[in-house]
């Protein structure tokens, strides 16, 4: 039985409602059928009573005059042929004399005249006893003997005050049955018709009702491994409890997504911070002995007694050490610089500076810098950010590509400077996005992979934010920098 309750609502709702509909139709049908049977019996009794009164009145003179044939013609008149089968069709009419002997009957073969009623079987014995009862009977006397296929209705035959005998009408219940079964079939047919209309409606409605629930259950089943998708907005556009539940679910999904994004960001920044710390630590550790080594090499080079071979080696060492210093210097992003505000000339300089690269790669550059004469942002750092991002974009865009710059204050904000750089080069993969701002994360053959790292470090140290994403088939970098007092000193990474 448990499996029934474990069924999906998709099946359970239609099944239960179908069951309820069928049950209701059955109960109502059964009640109506019972009522129909009773009504039919009443109709038979009423019809029998009418017929009985007429026959009793017309048959009375024949009893008085002992006119058997006339009486036979009268009692036979309501009997019709075999073909006529209605429940109100009388089966036999019998006139009993005062002595309870048959005076005449419509069926002399089975109910011959002059026969004692009591000798005709259990039904008639019972009927005869009822008629002999001293208390008398209420007319019409309706008799439905047990285990009998017949229903009897008895009326007295009287002339003036004298009772001449009794008129008995016999109805075969077997005639009721086909009629009743006809009615039953009609009822069943109607019931099936109603079911045929209701069940599909019910399945459709039940399915519609269950579909959002099933969808919801499926989506919630994927939690907490993944954040589920919100429900389609047209799935259940109503405001009942179900609708409210779906709204609540959607709000929850949105909250979960925000939380997941936030967590992702946090993990990323924490990782980057950790990498920054590690890098700074290593750089310091390298810098100290490196400074000594460079000094030693410089000193050695100043000596004039070195043979050319040793001198070449020293120069080799010197170039290597210088490369190490440059690299370490690049890792150790220093934002402690003399700060002057950013002005129009800085942008013109940058435009000029990147022109050789743009020209070389025949990149289309779109330049949109809307800024006042001066902005309270550290000029040299912003310049570095812009050069890094633009060169990066030109590299990414490739031959004949397209690069755009937008610089300004977003929505007229007084407190933020926004820089948006886009290129139409290859889009960034999921993996690239996750590690974009880490050092040596470059996917290009050329470049040391420190440009974005440095940019990130600068932006972070300026309390700004940098983000990269794929949008409209382009790769977009967005930098937001807080405006205000130009920091004189910042922590070095």
């Amino acid at each position: 039985m448990n499996w029934l309750f474990n069924l999906s609502f998709r099946h359970k709702i239609p099944l239960w409602t179908s069951f309820l509909i069928s049950f209701s139709i059955f109960v109502v049908g059964a009640a109506l059928m019972t009522r129909a049977y009773e009504d039919m019996k009443n109709a038979v009794v009423i019809s029998a009573e009418n017929l009985g009164h007429t026959l009793a009145n017309t048959v009375a003179p024949t009893l008085l005059h002992d006119d058997v044939w006339r009486a036979f013609e009268i009692v036979r008149s309501p009997i019709r042929g075999e073909s006529v089968k209605t429940p109100v069709q009388v089966d036999a009419v019998v006139v009993l004399g005062r002595d309870h002997k048959i005076f005449v009957s419509s069926d002399p073969d089975t109910l011959p005249m002059l026969t004692e009623a009591a000798a005709l079987g259990a039904d008639w014995r019972q009927l005869s006893e009822r008629l002999s009862a001293p208390t008398g009977a209420n007319w019409p006397l309706v008799l439905e003997p047990d285990n009998s296929g017949f229903l009897y209705l008895v009326l007295p035959v009287t002339d003036k005050d004298a009772q001449l005998g009794h008129l008995v009408l016999r109805y075969a219940k077997s005639v009721f049955h086909p009629w009743f079964i006809d009615t039953l079939w009609q009822g069943l047919g109607l019931g099936v018709l109603v079911l045929a209309v209701l069940i599909p409606i019910n399945w459709y409605w039940g399915g519609r009702m269950a579909a959002p629930l099933v969808d919801l259950a499926q989506r919630m089943g994927t939690m907490p491994e993944t954040v589920p998708q919100p429900l389609p907005p047209d799935l259940y556009p109503y405001d009942d409890e179900l609708g409210q539940l779906f709204h609540a679910y959607d709000r929850m999904v949105l909250a979960l997504r925000d939380k997941a994004t936030l967590e992702n960001e946090m993990v990323k920044s924490e990782r980057l911070a950790a990498i920054g710390q590690l890098t700074a630590g290593i750089a310091h550790e390298i810098n100290n002995p490196l400074a000594g080594l460079i000094t030693v090499v410089d000193t050695l080079k100043l000596r004039g007694d070195l043979d050319p071979r040793a001198l070449r080696s020293l120069e080799l060492i010197d170039r290597g050490l210088t490369q190490i210093r440059d690299t370490v210097a690049a890792l150790l992003v220093q934002t402690r610089v003399q700060a002057r505000p950013l002005n129009q000339h800085d942008l013109e300089d940058i435009h000029t500076l990147i022109q050789p690269q743009v020209g070389k790669r025949r990149v289309q550059l779109e330049w949109s810098a809307a800024m006042p004469a001066e902005l309270p942002a550290p000029a040299s750092l912003v310049r570095q950010i812009l050069i890094n991002l633009l060169l990066n974009a030109v590299q990414a865009a490739g031959e004949g590509g397209h690069v755009s710059l937008w610089l300004g204050r977003k929505d007229g904000s007084e407190s933020f400077l926004s820089i948006v750089v886009r290129n139409d080069g290859a889009l960034l993969g999921e993996d690239q996005l996750a590690h974009l701002f880490e050092p040596f994360a470059s996917t290009r053959a050329s470049g040391h992979g420190l440009g974005l790292w440095v940019t990130y470090q600068i932006v972070t140290q300026l309390d700004g934010r940098i983000a990269a994403r794929n949008i409209d088939g382009q790769v977009e970098f967005v930098v937001n920098l807080p405006l205000g007092e130009i920091p004189c000193t910042t922590a070095s990474a």
């Binding site: 044939w69 036979f72 005449v104 005249m113 002059l114």
Partner: protein, 297 residues
């Protein structure tokens, strides 16, 4: 039953008519004033259960045929029992009537024999004792002692007088021989009573029962004839003694000539008769004898 067999009775009867017409010419003259209808007026003919009198289309056809032939309006007056027709004759409400032989003898002072139908070529018929076809126990009326019995009419010869006479011949009292008897007031209904099982036996006119075998075979074949009586004179057409000689002769001529025309023969075929003969009261001697046996004259 050869139709060509010489029948002397009509000739004898014709002589009798001459005498009768002589006698009744005076009576007719006397009754002329009150018998206005007899002189060119409507002729009223009483129809009794002597034949299948509930075949209304046949009766209509016969009446139209008669009216056309006589050039006189004709009215058929139907009654359900011989008694009522006999009363109408007595009351002079009828000029002519087709009655049973037994009422004819009862009314012989009131009516004259007009014509006798020829059944199977002869003016005779019998009484049949019938039982249900499934009843194979009964071979004679003696076997029906203590049963329920259907008579046709108390003024019917074949349906009442003849079977009672037969019981009397057995040395039994007809009043107590059967357990119960009743009248159906029609020969056809005797057949019906026996066929339906209401009565175990019945006495019926042989002409009617045999005709029914053609007209209503389903009904008639449910009965079986167990005994046939001797022949009796066929139920005659009679005229009231007050009917003028002219009318008497016109009607008699019409009846006797029925078989001469196509229309008449068609009608006779439907009636299952062969024609009419003038007949003679002597035909009914057998009935008179039975009546005398019961103390009736």
């Amino acid at each position: 039953m050869n139709q060509d067999a010489p029948i002397l009775l009509p000739n004898r009867n014709r002589r009798r008519w001459l005498i009768d017409s002589g006698c009744f010419a005076a009576a007719g003259l006397i009754g002329l004033a009150r018998k206005s209808q007899a002189a060119g007026g409507k002729l009223r003919v009483g129809m009794t259960p002597a034949f299948l009198h509930d075949q209304h289309s046949l009766l209509d056809e016969w009446r139209d045929f008669m009216a056309a032939s006589l050039h006189r309006p004709v009215e058929f007056v139907q009654r359900d029992s011989y008694r009522e027709t006999m009363d109408l004759l007595r009351l002079e409400k009828l000029e002519f009537a087709w009655v049973c032989d037994y009422p004819y003898l009862h009314l012989k002072d009131t009516v004259r024999l007009l014509a006798v139908p020829l059944y199977r070529g002869r003016p005779y018929y019998r009484s049949y004792l019938i039982v249900h076809k499934d009843n194979t126990q009964v071979h004679s009326i003696a076997d029906l002692s203590g049963s329920v019995f259907a008579y046709a009419d108390p003024y019917s010869n074949t349906g009442y007088l003849s079977p009672r006479y037969e019981i009397r011949q057995l040395g039994r009292d007809p009043a107590s021989f059967f357990r119960k008897t009743f009248f159906t007031w029609s020969h056809r209904k005797v057949v019906e009573a026996v066929a339906s099982g209401l009565a175990q036996g019945g006495a019926v006119d042989s002409y009617i029962r045999d005709t029914l075998l053609h007209v209503e075979p389903a009904l008639a074949s449910r009965t079986r004839v167990v005994w046939r009586s001797p022949e009796y004179g066929f139920p005659p057409f009679v005229s009231h003694r007050s009917v003028s000689v002219a009318d008497f002769q016109i009607m008699q001529r019409h009846l006797l000539d029925t078989s001469q025309t196509d229309a008449g023969r068609r009608l006779l075929a439907r009636l299952n008769l062969d024609g009419f003969t003038a007949g003679s009261p002597a035909l009914y001697e057998g009935v008179a004898r039975m009546m005398r046996a019961f103390g009736e004259t």
